[in-house]
Every structure is written in C-alpha cells, then in structure tokens.
Symmetry: C3
Subunit: 304 residues, 3 copies
C-alpha cells in the first residue's frame, strides 16, 4: 500500500529534490523554538545548538546547518563532539534531536563530500559517518528524534538510531533510505538498523526502490513510532521522554545493549573493510558520473 502510494504520486524522487533546496527563511514555529533554546543553551557550535536543562536531565539538540542540514564532515565532527560531551555528563539522561532549519530534518550525507574528492578524503568522511552511527546507536542516553521535516537517506539513518521517533504529521515531509534513487547503495549497517525497525521485507522493498514515505505511511510500517500535529511535536517528544526516563536507567541500558549489540558488533568488526568498500565504490567513474548528473539536476532545479 505504502509502496504504491509512494510510487504513484512520484514523491519518491521529486519530493526529495524539492526539499533539498528551498526558500530558507525560517518559519514562525521553528524560529521561536530556536530562540527559546538559545536562552537556555549552554553549548552552541556553528552547526549544532545544544540546550541542556539540568532540572529535567534532558538536552535538546537543534541541527542548524542551512539550507538542509547536510551531513558534511564538519557537521559530523561537531555532532559527535556534542554527543560525546552529553554522554560523559552523568546528569544528562535524555536527548531530543530536532531540526532548527524549516521543513527539513536532515537531507542526509553531503554529496559534495563524495564527489570529486580523493580516496583519502572519502575514507575520512565515511569514518565520520560510521562514528555518528555507532555513537548514537549505542548511546546510554534515551534519544528521541523529533522529526520536523524531511529526512531522506542519512537523515533517516540518524532517526533509526534513536530510541523513539515522532514525526510532524505534514504530508509534504518524507522519510526513507532512498539511496538507490541516486544510484548509490545503503551499506549493510544502514540496512541492519532499518531491518531492526521495520523487518526484513519492508527493508528489502524499501531499499530496492529507494522509497520515501509520508508520515502516515511511515507510521504504518513502523518507520516512525508516532505522528503528531507539527505544533505539538516538541511537547510530545518531551512527554515521551518522561516515560522513558521513568524506567530505572541501569535496567534500560542493559536491555538496550542486549537488543543492539549484535548489530553494533557487526560494523565494529568490519569497520575498516566497510571504509575500503565505500571508497572503492564511490570513486568509480560510473558512480561519480551519477553524482555529477544528480548535482547538475539539483542546480538546475534551484535556478529555475
């Protein structure tokens, strides 16, 4: 059903592209959220703003790298440093990740880090992507994704690592691992995280076709756990965080590790090979050509 719907209205590709570049003026709700965040914020880097509330033990992280929160090497580095700081702060028990950029949660991996770059640069970039995934998926904190915009590819991956996913119920937003649409392939650990969430068959069809799902479709297959009106998103995320934090931390953490360790160990044990595999794939002439075609299409669309 979701498949036919997604394919039928051609959201799959055109929706993704249209969300990559758009008017970047901040919307009313987002701007006020960011303002409030900054008033209490105790850590702000250029691309990520972290607002930690000691009284609740919950941090809110706003991704704010316009126009689309692309996961560049710089972004990933800052993200991992921020995450590590929170992880080491014993008083921080929960983290809500959301976007400070309107209409997009994260557009995923920055294609410019993969196009026309040296194998060394590509390898360094890929290690940073792995690092983000490993840190998030194994975090001792409760992590809730408050998905307030589109979340294709790496943006979806980031969501998949969280303990709970709430998405704004806006039909213009979509979420999914759509790599094949670009001629590239989601690696095994993207696949594993998705299969752990929506099962083998949904993952197989979703990855093969590079499907992007509307919030309603995503809820139906379990790609997100809850959808709420956009203006209720942060309140709902905070309420849900309260439920998770009510569970004795030690028992919850051991349980999380039991569920996720086999998947984490798989990447850890194959990490170097996975980097080599990515580098040799992405530097292929045919793949570079695909990426160029895609980038040119984006530029044209932006210009028109």
């Amino acid at each position: 059903m979701a498949l036919r719907a997604a394919l039928g209205n051609k959201r799959a590709l055109s929706g993704f592209i249209s969300q990559l570049y758009f008017n970047s003026s901040h919307g009313r709700v987002c701007a006020s959220t960011v303002l409030a965040a900054q008033q209490r914020s105790n850590s702000t880097s250029s691309k990520i703003s972290v607002n930690f509330d000691q009284s609740t033990g919950v941090a809110v992280m706003h991704l704010q790298s316009p126009p689309v929160n692309s996961l560049s090497l710089d972004f990933l580095t800052e993200f991992c440093i921020s995450l590590e700081k929170l992880e080491m702060d014993k008083s921080c028990r929960g983290l809500i990740i959301t976007s400070g950029v309107p209409k997009v949660f994260s557009a995923g991996l920055d294609i410019l880090e993969m196009y026309g770059k040296s194998p060394e640069s590509c390898g360094e970039f890929w290690k940073a992507v792995q690092e983000m995934w490993l840190k998030l998926y194994s975090s001792n904190m409760v992590i809730v994704a408050a998905i307030n915009g589109s979340s294709p590819a790496g943006g979806c991956l980031m969501s998949l690592t969280c303990d709970y996913r709430i998405m704004a119920d806006n039909p213009r937003y979509s979420i999914g691992l759509n790599e094949t649409q670009l001629g590239i392939v989601a690696p095994f650990w993207f696949k594993d995280a998705m299969a752990n969430t929506v099962g083998h068959r949904n993952t197989e069809m979703s990855l093969a076709l590079g499907l992007l799902y509307s919030p309603t479709e995503a809820l139906k297959i379990g790609l997100v756990d809850q959808i709420v009106p956009e203006d209720k998103l942060m309140t709902s995320a905070e309420q849900m965080m309260g439920k998770w934090l009510a569970i004795p931390a030690h028992a919850r953490q051991i349980t999380k590790s039991m569920m996720r360790k086999p998947t984490i160990d798989k990447l850890t044990s194959k990490r170097e090979a996975d980097v080599q595999n990515f580098v040799s794939f992405i530097t292929k002439d045919a793949i570079q050509k695909s990426l160029r075609t895609y980038l040119e299409m984006l530029k044209k669309r932006k210009a028109s």
Copy 2:
C-alpha cells in the same frame, strides 16, 4: 499506539502491582472449571492440577498456587515434573495451560527466590527457570496457552513458549515482559522468544519500557494470537487444539524444531554462563535494594 495507551493510563506498573495481591476468593467460572478438572484428573500436586483426557489426547494443566501463581522453585519443579510425565506419555498429544486462580495467569518469577538468598539458591532457582523454558519451548506436544488473567514477566514468558496463545478479552488483564519496571532485566532468551513472536522493534520498545499490554493491544502486535470472551476461553482453546492435532504429528514436530532449534541451542550452549550472569546481577546491592523497595511497596499496597 499500544505504547501510548499502556503508558497513558499508567496500567504498566500499577496494573501489575494491583494484580499481584488481591482478594483470593475463587470466581464462579474458575471454580467450576477446577471442579470439572478434578473429576477427571489423574495427577494433582499441590500447585498444579493436570487433567488428561485419553479420548482426545489432550491434557489441561491448571496452575493453582494462590494468590498469583508465582513461579517459585517448588512451583517450577512440580511444573517440570508434570510436563515431563505428559511428554513421555505417547497418548498425550496436546496440552492446554491455564490458571486455576482467578484474575491471574501467572505473576511471573517469585521475587522471594531472588531477594536475600545465597548465590547458590539464586543459581538453583535460575536453572529451574531455564529448565521450564527449555522443556516448554521444545515440547513435541501442541501447547496452547489459555490466558485467563494477567500474565506479566515470567507469566508472559511461559505464554511465549506455547504454540498458540488465546487470551480472555478482559481489559483488566495485561501481559508483557515488564522486568525493567522493577529495575531488573529480561535475559537474552526471554528476549529471543519475544522477538520470535512480535519482531525486533516491538521487543526493543516493549522490554526497554517494561510494557504491559491489554488483550486488545497484545493482539494488535501479535503477542497473543486470539482474544475471546472470558467464558468462551476453554472452548476456543479446545477447538484450536483440534486444528493443530489434525496435522500429521511427525511433520508438525520437525517443523516446530526447525523454527525453534537455533533459539534453544543458544541458551543450551550458554546455560552455565547465563546462570553466573544472573547470580552476579541479582546479588548486587543495588538490585537487592530495588527488590526490597518493590516488596515493601507491595506490602503497603496489600495492607491499605
């Protein structure tokens, strides 16, 4: 959906507690069932009554250890002996497990076997829990759980080992692996049995939050296969047993083994380590303190 419902009405913890201790006078339906059972029964121990009907090849096992059918060492020992007897009787092809105690199927592992006990006692207890699970999950008989009351933690585990689960459609009953609510952790083989039933994601969220599901919610995620009005429970269980027994036994047994052997082998090969792990966890000061707090809360509630 189930999560929000379960959390929203605070059934998760309070429901569990209220079901642990309650007025133990037998209800009308249960009392008459037990009476009928005893008329045909050919094996009755103090805690378990087995009623084997030669004409159908089906035995009915009533758990009757008031107030809440806690899985104590004595209970587990008797249970395993009863099960073994049936397993060795070639004329017994099916087993229906139900409760002879009103409102509760089984409240799960007896906390008194884990609190203030020597490591040796804890280890002996844990081996008995493993034994119950291994015997049930690998049984050659068709086993149907007729869940006529709440079934948290070990009670849910017992249900998960059966071939088919029917639950009385009474919204006051709940079922789930709620260990984290008590500050303890469901071991990997509880997790494996649940994941084999409701999938990875439902298991992850369910175990992390220690969720207890109403019959309707349990049906929705597949934690039970069918819900029926309480007074139709045994009839439905018997009808379903008939369907299962119509399948050539040899083919059904090989199929069951093919589905379950990897999960069984995993515990068998790690059995001793799992005992050590349990003992070192449960005898920790912090965990003992959690259990004491919990027991005191139960006492207060019982007294009030």
Copy 3:
C-alpha cells in the same frame, strides 16, 4: 485472524485438493493472454513459454504444463534453462512469471517425482528444486510474480523468490506452504524465504498448520504485496515492473544481493547435506505411505 478464517472454512486442505485436478479447458482471459504471448514469443518449450519484448526489456514467462503446472524434474529443467538464457541476455532486465493454465499458478512439487522412486532419482529431483530456488532468489533481473491461480507449496516457494508478488483477487485461489498437511516438511530454505517475507511468527504458525491463505489474507500478512481484479493482473504487473526498472540497475542489484546473500549462502553451503536429508526422509516407509494415501485420495476425488 487469517488462521481462523483459513481453518474455519476448511479451505486449507480441501481447497488445495480441489485445485489439483479440475476441468482443464482454458478460460477466456487466460487463453487470450497465451495467444498474445505466442505472437511475440521468441522461445517456447513444451512446458514454458517465454515472450521477450526487446522494447521494454521485459520478458513474460507463462507456465503451461497442464493440468496444474506441477514442478516435475522435466519442468524444473526447462524452467532453469529458460531462466539462464534470460539472465545472460543483457537486454533483458525484468521477468514476469505467470501461469498459462487456468485457476492454478503452480500446484508445487510433483509428488510423482517423490513416490516410488529410487534414492538417486529423488536426489536428482531435489537438486533441481534447489537449483530453481537459487537461480530465482539470486537473479539480477527484477522478477514479478503475477499469481493468477492457486499457489500451494512449491508454487508458493516460487512466488517467494520474486521481487514483488501480485495476486488475482479471486477468493477461490489460495497460497501458502502447506507441506505439513501432506505429512511432509518444508525444508529450511523454504522457511528462510518465507520468514524473510512475513516474519518469524507468521512463518512458524503457517508452516506448523500448513496454512493456505486467500488473496485477502495473504495481503494482510504480507505473503503477497498487492491484490488486483483478475483482468487487471498483467497490466498491474507491467506497471509495477516499470517502477522497479526505473531504479539504477547496479544499485538495485547490489542492494538485492545484500538482502538475500546470507539466506542463499546458507543453502549453498549445506546443499549436499540438504539433498541427503531430503532423500532419507522421503524414502522412509511412513512417508511413502502418506504420499500413497494422498495420491489415492486425489484419484478418488478426480474420479468422483
């Protein structure tokens, strides 16, 4: 729900038998389809007709071995040769498999290849079944099953190997791995393919009871991806094929391999042992007796 429905109306067994032998006069729709196929066909063996359209890159394979497209050794051999030819033709990117025989997609493995045969013959037959499965499940082509009739046992297995399954919405048709109903056992790789499609629990119950599902029930558990009115089946299959072929082939193929390789490797590494296992099982006196009983029942039914 599906279980109760399937069992309740006794479709499980009687439906299967009634579909095995029936009036073999071709229906209106099927006859015209076959006619059209033959006009453009570039390969026709006695049991399989292949019609490859260069302009679309899509081949349509009609199974046409009346009365029920049984998977005999001859059929399987021809099938694998046809498949290999298409696989080696770089211009062929997609394959639609459908039946040229009315009311049945395929009745599954030919029992006559397993009854009263030498161990060597049984072994040769089983290798051919493995070969079909391995070739289909690992194909680089997009394969869509257009299921225009009943599809029990091996017919269901064939469907399970495809990338997408569309079934004619005719309540007289059914699909499932019903081996246990005949006293035989679906081997582990049948089970693996089914679990990859509908999950562990659906597979466990389905195989234990040998369930056959109506199109509606099959859609509900994900055993088929889509159901459409019978006269829209081929058009829908072609439309869906278009969606799959729009994805860059290289990325789609790597993704498919990533999803399926562990399951394929499992059979490949145990292939010889699986043959031995099948031969020693199927040549058992008790199993041969089951098959004879079954064959006699079919004959009686045919005669009456």
